[in-house]
Every structure is written in structure tokens, then in C-alpha cells.
Amino acid sequence: MQRVGVFVCWCGSNIAATVDVEKVAEVLAKEPGVVFSTNYQYMCSQAGQEMIQESIRKYNLTGVVICSCSPRMHENTFRKTCEKAGLNPYMVEIANIREQCSWIHKDKDTATEKAIILGRAAIAKVHLNAPLTAGTSPVKKRALVIGGGIAGIQTALDIADAGFDVDIVEKEPTIGGKMTQIDKTFPTLDCAACILTPKMVDAAQNERIHIYSYSEVSSVRGFVGNFKVTIKKKARFVDETKCTGCGLCTEKCPQKKVPNLFNLGLDNRRAIYIPFAQAVPKVATIDADYCTMLKSGKCGVCSKVCTAGAIDYQQKDAFIEQEYGAIVVATGFNPIKLDKYDEFAYSQSPDVVTSLEFERLMNAAGPTGGTLLRPSDGQHPHTIVFVQCVGSRCDDSKGKPYCSKICCMYTAKHAMLCREKYPDTDVYVFYIDVRTPGKNFDEFYRRAVEEYGVHYVKGMVGKVVPENGKLKVQASDLIGNQQLHIDADMVVLAAAIEPDKSARPLATMLTASMDTNDFFTEAHPKLRPVESPTAGIFLSGACQGPKDIPETVAQASAAAAKVIGLLNKDHLICNPCTATPDEMMCNGCSSCEKVCPYGAITYIDKEFRGPNRTTLIRRVAQVNPAVCQGCGACTVACPSGAMDLKGFSNKQIMAEVDAICR
């Protein structure tokens, strides 16, 4: 029998307000094997931890039960505490009396009773705990960054800078992401391309960075330190090694009516294209949906004009297998579709645009060469109405429940740029709240109002009706208590942003969790914001939540730091809670092998002593503890119960069941 110490935490008043901690400690002291039981204000504090260590030494404790917050919170803390006092860290059990007791119950008697039962279950389990020692597994010193936007580029550059190889997988023909489409950046109004393109070139020229453009991740196996990833390089029908990016083909291609997605369909491009002048890699790509040659076999103009002989109509999707120690997700965002918001007439008039389309209309490299013109008739707009929170902060059934965070600032930027370039325009911004937390953000917004004379109106636009070439905007001015009717030339909608659609299937491949909005979940919202709960998976940029560029870059570098920390290790400490077979009972039937997701189970023929001094050769299971992740699927598949899981053994779980049902 273990010598168990019980430590009941008050967690300030978090636990103590609804659980009679003193009574819990008192009752648990009478449990078998408990030699010491106490309670304290904050067990996780320095003083609390010292008390635990002292008690371990003083009472010769062989097992420790801590009644406190969720083990997801402080299990590791307390394991380390006990390890320092000479106790095996796996002789610690946590009874979750905060998240699963004090916080969900109001009645003190009920909560106290439940806390006692949870404590008993933990004591029952700890009696059956055995000291465990963790093994190690090697780390593949290479990182994968999925997504080549500013987040992915920054992460890759930082990792490469620390001396590790990095691969970037980007699904578009060029890296750069959303930032390449943006004109100017708030709050400094410097040109996005001027700060982004040098980074793109840096990434391309860095010998430690390999860019897989026009590629996707098609499968992920393995685990932290040892991921095996298959990358699908989509056929672009152009040999990347030969193409010089001269662009002749993109001028000669006879198929001219292809919507230019880089300009969000505001103008057209050819079937063979380079998305924009500074693309990296600067290589042409054939759009198979439009190419006449690929569709009907008749054309071949690009092939004829290409002096480098880079065109290859026979190219097929290629699959590349690569091993990585860490994976960074940087899949970014997209504006939402606006079909649910047709009161703003987005589908009815080309002059109602999203903010990202507006960026292209303002951009010198955009479809209008940087002159702001109405898409419908190419006229200069005189009255422009900006509508904020389109699809953001909505009830779940209608849009996104969250604030998209970047809209207030870019709308201020747009409004300011309009007034600066075209002082004859009237600019209205309809807002619910203007949110400007950030360095120099509120100053920027105030400048738009005070220096540039942008009309900020507290209220929403109710409807937009296209009429005689104008857009009739009906809106409310809540402070003026009036309904406004504005004849606008353009309406710009600050559409909510959502995670890229590729994120959900990727999350499934990575077994990384997501929230209900398809943003990746971080391991801890405050303390581990750039890590996924799945070990070895890191988060960079807007795939984790809405972010502006400075925040994205900061998070990208933070993720890189975490990756570097991981890749710097030669070995990782494995989870010691692995499956372990009892060879004497193993039938060798392969049931466990079939359900193991990691291929951690193999079989060997082993000699055993039979009756009457004979030897028997039996086929028995072997578990590779470096590969086993401890899910326990095998333990249930095994009919004889020969397979058991350390740390969550049959007996331990049953002891908990017994204690709870007692």
C-alpha cells in the first residue's frame, strides 16, 4: 500500500467558496493509506509547492493526490514539484475539484460531497500507480510551414535563420498571400508590397528554405519530432526549373477571358499567367480550367513562344514524401461570401464592393492602375459609403459571432486615402463601435475624422438600392436620431473574415483541434497561444483568430521560436504512459496491431518454457514505446487482456469506477 499525501487547494475562493476544503481534507485523511492530508490557499504557489515537497520528505510519501484545478492546468506543475522532492512524477494524481466541481455547483454540501468522491477516486487510482520513466525519441531537424502568406514567410525565415531547414507549402502559384493584394498598411500608410516583396525574395533566396508553390499537403502521419508528410505538387504544366518568368507566354495566350482572381475578378487575365509582377517563384502557371490546349488539344501558342521550352502539357500531379520534426499552420483567412447580406445589394451592383476589392481598386498595380474608378462605368465616385461589421458580430445563424478585428482600422485607412487622393469626395463610415486598441491606432482613426473630414456616423446601413446609376443608401444616425438617405456612388462593405476553407481538412489530417468557427485552437488561450494542443503542431497568423499584420508577424516569430526550441533538441522525452503487453498471456492474434494508428506494435516469435522442460515458441506482441502515443485502442481490442496501458491500467480505471460508485 502506498503512503499517500492529500493536498486540497482552495484556489483562493474559486474552490473554497463552494467546497468546504477543510472537510474534504479531513474526510480524505481517513481513506486507506492516507498518512497526511491538508488544505492550502494556493497549492500551485511557491509556498504551496514547498509544502508538498516538505510533506513528501517528512512523511515518506509514495503517492500524492492533489485536489485542485483541472489536470490539464497544473498536472505538469505538480509532477515537477514532486519529482524535485524525489518522488516519481507519475505517482501524482489530480482530483479536478474546480472545473468539474466548485465551478459548476452552487450548493456547498453537494459540491463538498462530490469533491470528496473525486478525491477518493484519485486516491484509489494512486494506490495502483507505478513509477514510470519516460523514454526518448529522435527529432527530425526540419520544419514544415503550411501557407506562404506573411505569417508563413516570417516563420520560415526565422526558423531558417536559426539554422534549420524549412519547407513552405503554398497552394497558390506564388507565396505572399493576402498581403500582396493590399495597397497600403495601417497605421503607417506604407506600401504593403514595398515591405512584403523583399521578404518574399529573402525566402526564395534563403538556401535553408524550400518553397513548394502550387502545392498542398495531402497526408500527415507520425507524431511530434517524426512527422511523415506527403505533399501534392499540383501540375502547373510549366517546368519550374526552366521557366525564366519572362512573361511572353502570358501576353501571347489567346484565351483572354479568364477572371483574374488576384484582382478578385475585377478584370481578366490569360489562361497562362503569373499572378503579379513580383511573384515568387516567378514562374508561369496554366489554368487547366480555361486552357484551350489542355481542354481540346488545339492551341499550343505558349509552347511555341517559350524560348526556354518550359511548357509541358503532359505534366502530372507529383507527390513528395518528406519528414519533419515540427509543423506550422499558417493557412490564413478569407473574407466571407456576402450572399446572405443582399440588403447591401452586393450581387445587384458592381459598385458595391468588399474592402479587399477596394484595396485592388486603389492599388497602383490593380485593374484601374491606382485611380479610384467605379467598376460599373469607370467614373470617378463622389460619394462613398463604408459599412462596417458586415457579417461580423452576428448571431450564429446569420454570420460570424466574433469581431473580425481588422475592419475598423482598414476602413479608417480607406476613408483617409480617399479623402487624401480625392478631396472632392464625401466619405461616410457607418459603424457600430470603432475599435482601435493598438499602438498608434486611435490616433490614426482620430486623424481620419479630424484632419481628413471623414463623416463617421454611429449607426448601420439598413438597405442599399441601385437606382439610376446611383446607390440609394438608407441608414440610421443614432446620435442624431434620424434616418439618413444618401445617394452614393460606391458602397464598400467591410466583410467579416473567416479561416481559409483548406483549414478544416488540414486540421483533421493533423489531428489538431478547431473551434466552432474553424479557427485552430491554441494549447492555452493565454499561456500557450502559438501552439496547438497536438504536440509538434504550431499556429501562425490568422488561422488561429483574426489578426492584423503586426500581430501576425509577432505570432509568426513566436511560433518560429517554439519550433526552434523543439528542433534544437536531439531527443524528445516520450510519453511514458504507453501500452505494454503481458507476453505470458499474449495470443499473438494481431488484433492490437490492426487498431494501432501508429504502427507501434510488432510481433516476434519467442521461446517460452513449456511443461515438462519443453520449450514452446509463441508469437507475442511487442510495443515500441517511442512510437506508442498511449491511446489504448489495443487494450480493448485484446481479448485476453494481455495488453494494458501504463498510467491508465484496467485496474486503475476500475478502482476509480469503484470509488465513484461506492
Partner: protein
């Protein structure tokens, strides 16, 4: 038939194909045939028996016999061949050490169904059986005495063999699930009462466990102290239930429906109904599956599809 098998057995011994023969001999009673290993012509001539009571499935004995060195020849009936192949699939039998003689079978008889008392002997005579009793001779149609499990025989196909005696057969279309469906149609209360009535007779003699080819663990969970459920004899109704639930669950997807469990139960508990219920569920929910039918198909419990039904189907699919 018996003579053909005897001759074959002697031939296999003499030509060196095998040094041991696994067959049947008379047990306590003549109708109670028991598996036996023969090593000489004399033994075979004296004791080897094969008749309408040779129901015992020999495949399980090959787990041990195939590991004893040398080569063993075994007579395998169609339903035994499924068990044999299932055990091969689970790496339990060393195939190289076994010579399989497939024996076609027209169904075995149930002595209780002869409807006679004081039976001294039975002679097979084409389609009828001549029963010699204390009270004189009596003729019974073989079809009337056939064992329940054979009346709903799933297959006459011998799925694995080295040589055949008799013709190769085909899978049958017999309706095996009538009784299961009848129970499913009852209310939970009625089902509970039914099973309580049946399982309360269990004396935990472990005959079902010992005879079952799927229940062939080196050491059973019920004998294993670390499993947390070790128990020798059921002390109360819960443990009666527990043993049979766990046993049925452990053979799920591995049970070939040979029916030996019900045959050997001294208390006549229809244990095969539990297994058949699970086979029926597997067929209905995950597509037809027959354990032991081949070497490659993944057993249903170590397999899945992403579109599998949810466990709530048990609540939803109606019935009582």
C-alpha cells in the same frame, strides 16, 4: 463414411504425411463423441469413430497440436473449417504442421431429439436412423433428429483443406436469425426475463469457454488477476450476466457461429443466440461479414468506416 475416414487416417500415418491423427472416439456414452489423437493403425482400428454424433469441432485442438512438433492430420467438417481459418488468421495454428482432410457433412444429430429412452446404440441407414433401446428397436427419420444448429447450417463449403473426402459444398441460404428476431421483437422486460431465466441456470462450468474455438486465449481475462474482473464462479446474477456479456463481446467478429457453445452447455442455455445477435448486428450495420470465410477481410471490430452509424442507432432503430 467411418470406414473411409479410418482408411484415410491409416494411409496418412503409413505414407508419412502425418505422425498423428486428430479424430473422434467414443466418450462416456456412445453418442458423446470426443476428440482424440491417434498415433497407430491399431488405435485407429479399435477406437476411431465417425457418425452422426461427431459434432465436436476439432479446430481448436490444433492450436496446441500444431505446436507439438511433427505433423498432425485432422478431419475438418465445413463449419469447423471456418473456425480453422479464423484461427489461422489470428496466427494461432501453425498451418505447416497440419494436414487438413476436409470431410463433407450432412448435419449432425442431437441425441435428445431422437425421442427415445434407454438408448443403447444408433445405426445410420440412409435417410433414417435405427435406434436400439432397452425397450426394443425404433426407426427415426434422420431429418427429425438433426441438431438445431445443423438445421440452420450456414455453409457446406470447406474453406480450407489439403484433401477432400466427399464433395465440396456451397454456402446455404438458411435463416439463422429467426430466433434472434423473435427476441428482438419482445419488450425489454420480456427479454430481460427470458435471459434471466436462461442465464440464472449457468453453473460456470466453463464448458462454453473451453469448447469455443474463438475463446482460445492463452489465459482468459476471467483468470487474470490484472484484468480486474477475475472470478472463478459466478456468485450472483450480475456475475452470470457479466461472464456471458464479456465472452460474447470478446468473440464478436471472431465467432464463426459453429454453435459448439450451446451444444456443450450442460444447462442447455442457448448461448449461441448472443453470438448470433452480434453477427446479425454486424451484418446489418457494417455489411455482411463471416468470420473465417477468408484470410484477408478485416474483422469488424478492428475496422471502421468514417460513415459508420452512431451508437444511438441502438435507441433509434425501433423494435421494442
Amino acid at each position: 463414411m467411418q470406414e473411409r475416414l479410418k482408411q484415410k487416417a491409416i494411409e496418412l500415418l503409413q505414407n508419412g504425411t502425418a505422425d498423428r491423427i486428430l479424430g473422434w472416439k467414443a466418450g462416456e456414452f456412445f453418442y458423446d463423441l470426443t476428440p482424440a489423437v491417434f498415433t497407430s493403425k491399431e488405435q485407429i482400428e479399435k477406437d476411431f469413430v465417425f457418425n452422426v454424433f461427431a459434432g465436436a469441432n476439432l479446430s481448436k485442438y490444433l492450436i496446441a497440436e500444431s505446436r507439438k512438433g511433427g505433423k498432425v492430420a485432422a478431419f475438418i467438417k465445413p463449419c469447423d473449417s471456418y473456425s480453422f481459418q479464423q484461427l489461422l488468421k489470428e496466427h494461432r495454428i501453425l498451418r505447416d504442421n497440419v494436414y487438413v482432410v476436409g470431410v463433407q457433412c450432412d448435419g449432425m444429430c442431437d441425441v435428445a431429439k431422437l425421442g427415445c429412452e434407454g438408448i443403447l446404440g444408433v445405426q445410420e441407414d440412409g435417410e433414417s436412423l435405427t435406434v436400439d433401446t432397452l425397450y426394443g428397436k425404433k426407426t427415426v427419420k434422420k431429418a427429425d433428429a438433426i441438431a438445431d444448429r445443423c438445421a440452420t447450417c450456414k455453409s457446406k463449403k470447406i474453406v480450407v483443406f489439403d484433401e477432400l473426402i466427399g464433395e465440396q459444398g456451397e454456402e446455404t441460404e438458411a435463416d439463422r436469425f429467426g430466433e434472434v428476431a423473435k427476441l428482438e421483437a419482445m419488450t425489454p422486460e420480456e427479454r430481460f426475463d427470458f435471459w434471466r431465466g436462461e442465464l440464472s441456470r449457468c453453473i460456470r462450468c466453463n464448458a462454453c469457454r473451453n469448447v469455443c474455438p474463438a475463446c482460445s486465449c492463452e489465459k482468459c481475462v476471467f483468470d487474470n488477476a490484472n484484468s480486474g474482473v477475475r472470478n472463478k464462479a459466478a456468485a450472483d446474477s450480475f456475475e452470470e450476466n457479466m461472464f456471458h456479456i464479456i465472452r460474447a463481446f470478446h468473440v464478436t467478429g471472431r465467432c464463426t457461429d459453429c454453435g459448439e457453445c450451446s451444444r456443450v452447455c450442460p444447462q442447455n442455455i442457448p448461448l449461441h443466440l448472443l453470438n448470433r445477435k452480434l453477427i446479425k448486428d454486424i451484418n446489418e450495420l457494417y455489411g455482411p461479414y463471416q468470420a473465417g470465410a477468408d484470410m484477408d477481410t478485416k474483422p469488424p471490430l478492428t475496422n471502421f468506416t468514417v460513415d459508420d452509424c452512431e451508437p444511438s442507432i441502438v435507441h433509434e432503430r425501433g423494435g421494442q
